[in-house]
Structure formats: C-alpha cells, structure tokens
C-alpha cells in the first residue's frame, strides 16, 4: 500500500509526466507509451495519477466577460500604437493623433448634407428575386430586427436596410446609415453588407457599420470574429476584434485603427457618450437620437465641448447637464428644443 502510494507519487512528482497528461504531443506520447511497454505493471498507477492530475480544478473559475475582454484588448492595442508612434519620429506622432481622431468616430458633417437618395439603394433585378424587404428608421428611431437566417440587426436612426427573399442561400444586405450586426455562423453562405462604396464580408461575427450618405467616411468596427472589408477603389483589409476599418473617401484611403467598443456600438444598448465632443456635434446627435430640432432663439453661441455618459436617459436630463455646463437655458416644446441665453438672476 505504502509502496503503491510512493509509486504514484513518483509519477505525480515528475513534471514530464504531468505535462504529458495535460498537453500530450507526438513526442511525449511516443515516450510514455514506450515506457508503459517496458513497465506494464505500472499501468494502473499511471491511470490513477492521470486522473488525479486531470481532476484538479479551481473550485470557482472566473471568466472575463466578452465585453471587458474586447474593451481591454482595444485599450491595450491603442496604448501600444501610441507608444510605438511616440518612439518613432515627430511625423509619426502627428499621424497618430490624426488616426485617434478618426477612431473617436467624430461625425464629419459634409457641408449641406447629401440627404437620402433612394437610388443609392438600387433594387435587385426583379427577374430572379421574388421579394425585396425594406426597413427604414426615421430620426429618433431605432429598430431591432431578425433576418430570415437568424442574424440580428439593430438599425440606428435615419438608416435603411434592404434584402431579398429567399435570404438564407444568398445572404446579402444593403445598408445606408448605421447598423449593428450579429451574424449567425454559416461558413457555406458568407454574409455580405453593401454600402454605397464598401463591401463587408463575414461568416459569423458581430460588427458595427456606420455609413451615412452625408458623411465622407464609412467605418466598420469589429467586436467579434473576422471581417473582410473592401471598397470600390480596391482598398481592402481583414479586420479582427477591436479593430475598425475607416474608409475615408475624401482622401481615398483606408485606415485600420483600434476603437472603443462602448463608444462605437454603445448606441444599440441605449448608451449615449460624449467625450470632449463639440457642442454643435452634441446637438446633431441629440437631434438624431431623439428626433428633435434645435432652435437657437437669441444668437446664443454654441461653443465649447461636452463630456458625459448617458444610459437610456431622457432628453431633458441630458439637456440639464449640457445646458448647465455650457451656460444656456432651454425649453422643450413638442419636437423642438428652444435654446436661449441664461437669464441673469
């Protein structure tokens, strides 16, 4: 009995044995099967020792939630890029700030906005396809829908998606505006999202696409899985989680940058984030988010920046914060927000 125990102890003590049990490879398999041939009386010892090693676990195991995993990865990669740029020359440094500016997904309003143009979403040919489904959101609206293949789409305000039925064998959707996709895995039928100039191809993954026609950029931000993106000018990249591809059509270039999952895809969970955001942009986003119009009554200057984080908050609550920080008063009247100078008491 004591002898048995010490024989098992011999095995357990041997780190080569333990590592063979935990992660066998060709070499160690060969070694231990040969060893067993010459020590056939030790077969039971080996089995017992194996079971002891394999049955040992942490009583409680802790899993890093996906969101945190992605967030930390994205932060770590950003930090890495920042340091790399810093250690490069000055030009490199300048470029980084340019990229990080893009990563913050600041809305680039292009003058008088190119508004919706129904022609940008051309209807597929009528011969081969029986039915075209079209879903559209107005300002202040969001829409969650499930596609026939089980994929989930959350459509942000002022966006439109079209796809043809039957869908499952030809998974292709057209998008104008912004949407978050959680694509059902189906390696045989790749899932494609077309925007005006870009093509995004995936198998099963989740990602956000922002492609408003009045913005000069289209951003594809990957949360999980692998995504291939390309545009009409032949720029292409393969993206992994925590990366986003930003097609800048004004300068005809594609930038791959890290991003904050919360800042990019938080909208689908009702999260409104302002991070040193210029007031004019804050108003634009509130207009779209709540479907309201701002009216500035007495030439109050909308200068300055605002930082805040709102989770499914009311417009009034947000405006309380913004107006306090920026020194104006407001009044909400139906779908209009009247802004005027603060009255001196």
């Amino acid at each position: 009995m004591a002898e048995r125990a010490s024989k098992i102890l011999d095995l357990l003590e041997n780190e080569n044995f333990v590592q063979w049990v935990l992660s066998p490879n060709q070499e160690t398999n060969h070694y231990w099967s040969k060893w067993l041939l010459t020590h056939s009386e030790r077969k039971e010892d080996v089995e017992k020792a194996r079971q002891i090693v394999l049955s040992t676990h942490y009583k409680k195991s802790f899993t890093l939630p996906d969101e945190d995993y992605n967030q930390i990865l994205s932060d770590v990669v950003s930090h890495h890029r920042r340091r790399i740029k810093e250690s490069n020359d000055l030009i490199g440094r300048k470029l980084f700030y340019k990229i990080s500016g893009v990563a913050a997904a600041i809305v680039l309003m292009v003058g008088a906005a190119l508004w919706y143009n129904d022609n940008t979403l051309s209807t597929p040919s009528e011969h081969s396809i029986s039915e075209v489904i079209r879903k559209k959101t107005g300002s202040g609206q969001k829409l969650t829908l499930q596609l026939p293949d089980g994929s989930k789409v959350v459509l942000n305000a002022e966006s439109e998606i079209t796809y043809a039925i039957p869908f499952s064998s030809n998974r292709e959707v057209k998008l104008s505006g912004e949407a978050f996709f959680d694509v059902k895995k189906d390696p045989e039928h790749p899932f494609t999202v077309l925007t005006r100039y870009t093509t995004t191809k995936v198998v099963g993954t989740s990602f956000n696409i922002r492609s408003y026609t009045y913005e000069s950029e289209t951003a594809i931000s990957v949360l999980t899985g692998k995504v291939e993106v390309s545009d009409h000018n032949g720029h292409e990249a393969a993206l992994i989680p925590a990366q986003q591809g930003v097609f800048d059509f004004k300068h005809d270039q594609l930038l791959v940058t890290p991003f904050s999952a919360e800042a990019i895809a938080g909208w689908k969970d009702g999260l409104l984030l302002f991070n040193n955001t210029p007031l004019t942009e804050v108003m634009d986003r509130l207009e779209k988010w709540y479907g309201v119009q701002f009216e500035i009554t007495d030439g109050t200057l909308m200068e300055g920046k605002y930082t805040g984080r709102y989770n499914n908050a009311s417009l009034e609550k947000i405006l309380d914060g913004v107006s306090y920080a920026s020194g104006f008063d407001f009044k909400i009247k139906d779908k209009t927000v009247l802004v005027h100078k603060k009255q001196r008491k």
């Binding site: 040992t56 942490y58 490199g92």
Partner: protein
C-alpha cells in the same frame, strides 16, 4: 503628403490573421522577441492566449472583479511601456502570472482593506476534484482527495493548481511564487505525498482500507 501616404499604406496592409510562422507554431520565444521589437500581432497573440487565464488566476485571491480587471489591463500597459527593457523569458505564461500576482498583492496591501497573510493568500485557491472518468479512481477517492487538498496550507494549494491545472513546470512555479526551484519541488512533494497516501489500495490486492 508623401510620407502620409506611406504611413497609410502600412496600416492598410496590416494583416490581422496570424499568418506568420512564429505565431502559427506558437514559438513563444520568437513571439516574445517580436513583441519586444514592437510587433502588434505578437502583443495581440499574448493577450488572446493569456488574458482570460490571468483574470481567472487573479480572481482566485481577490474577489473584486473590477480590481482584477484593472490589474490585468495595467499589466499589459506596463509590458508595453517597458518592452525594450524586458529580458528574455523562459515562459510567457509564468512571467505574466508572477507579474499579476505581485501587482495584486501590492494593490491589496496598499488599500489595507485586506490584511494579507505573508505565508499565502488565505482568500483563494479552493480546489475541486471533478471526476472525469470512471476509470482509475474510486468515487470516494475524489471526495477524500478534494478534502485533503483544501486542508493543505495555502502555498501548497497554490502549487498544486499551478502544477496540475495550469501545467507549469517547477522552474516556472518557482518564478511565480518567488521561491527557489528546490523549494518548489519540496513543497510539491509535501503536498503530493500527503495526497497519495490517501489513495485506496487496488481492489484486487485485498480488502479496502479507508485511510483517514
């Protein structure tokens, strides 16, 4: 403008799937070296391999998940900041584990909310012995083993988990626990010795004697 174009090219041709040989072969020495040179893919590889394991390990002796998350993130930040000064490592995993542990212990001490027992962290390392097969061990043996393992001093419990669960060598364990390799061997021996003595004799060898 020309320079900008060049830099832009660089980012576009960032290939994200691990198509480099050293990553495919999981050659950790090469990966570590490339990481020290500033290679992003190697950084991502290291993160993907170890972030989850680090979080689990850290949570064993600190129950506040936000704190552990912060420690994991800081750990990677510091690796990046000090990358040029980092030495070669024998095992990335062991190196990260030891850094994380030091960080957590330091952080907890600073807060003085947890008085740490220097001999080991009393808070964690509960071991479960989960039957994985009907072969080899008797059911009653699992129970006895689990009870015995959890009655071990914390340091011995930790060594058992690092050795049997994390699959680390004595050398790596010594690094993490900040002890000599010899002491790691001795510690493991002590724990394993008391453990194996609990095992039942083989049935066919005679009567069942329950040792306790």
């Amino acid at each position: 403008m020309n320079r900008k174009k060049e830099a832009h090219k660089q980012t576009v041709h960032f290939k994200s799937d691990f198509d480099n040989e050293y990553l495919l072969q999981r050659d950790e020495c090469a990966i570590w070296k490339r990481f020290k040179e500033g290679d992003e893919q190697s950084l991502i590889y290291i993160y993907q391999q170890y972030a989850g394991l680090l979080y689990n390990y850290g949570s064993q002796f600190c129950s506040r998940s936000e704190f552990v998350k912060d420690c994991v993130q800081e750990l990677f930040y510091e690796l990046i900041d000090r990358r040029k000064k980092l030495g070669d490592v024998r095992s990335i995993k062991a190196y990260l584990f030891s850094c994380l542990k030091r960080k957590i212990v330091k952080g907890l001490k600073k807060e003085e909310r947890f008085l740490l027992n220097e001999k080991g962290l009393e808070l964690g390392f509960m071991i479960a012995s989960i039957p994985i097969s009907t072969q080899g061990l008797e059911k009653s043996e699992y129970v006895v083993i689990e009870r015995k393992l959890n009655a071990l001093p914390p340091q011995q419990k930790e060594i058992i988990l690092l050795y049997f669960y994390e699959g680390l060598s004595y050398l790596e364990i010594a690094d993490i626990m900040n002890i000599k390799v010899k002491s790691a061997r001795a510690l493991a021996y002590r724990a394993l010795n008391s453990l194996t003595r609990l095992l039942l004799p083989y049935k066919k060898k005679g009567s069942i004697h329950f040792p306790l």
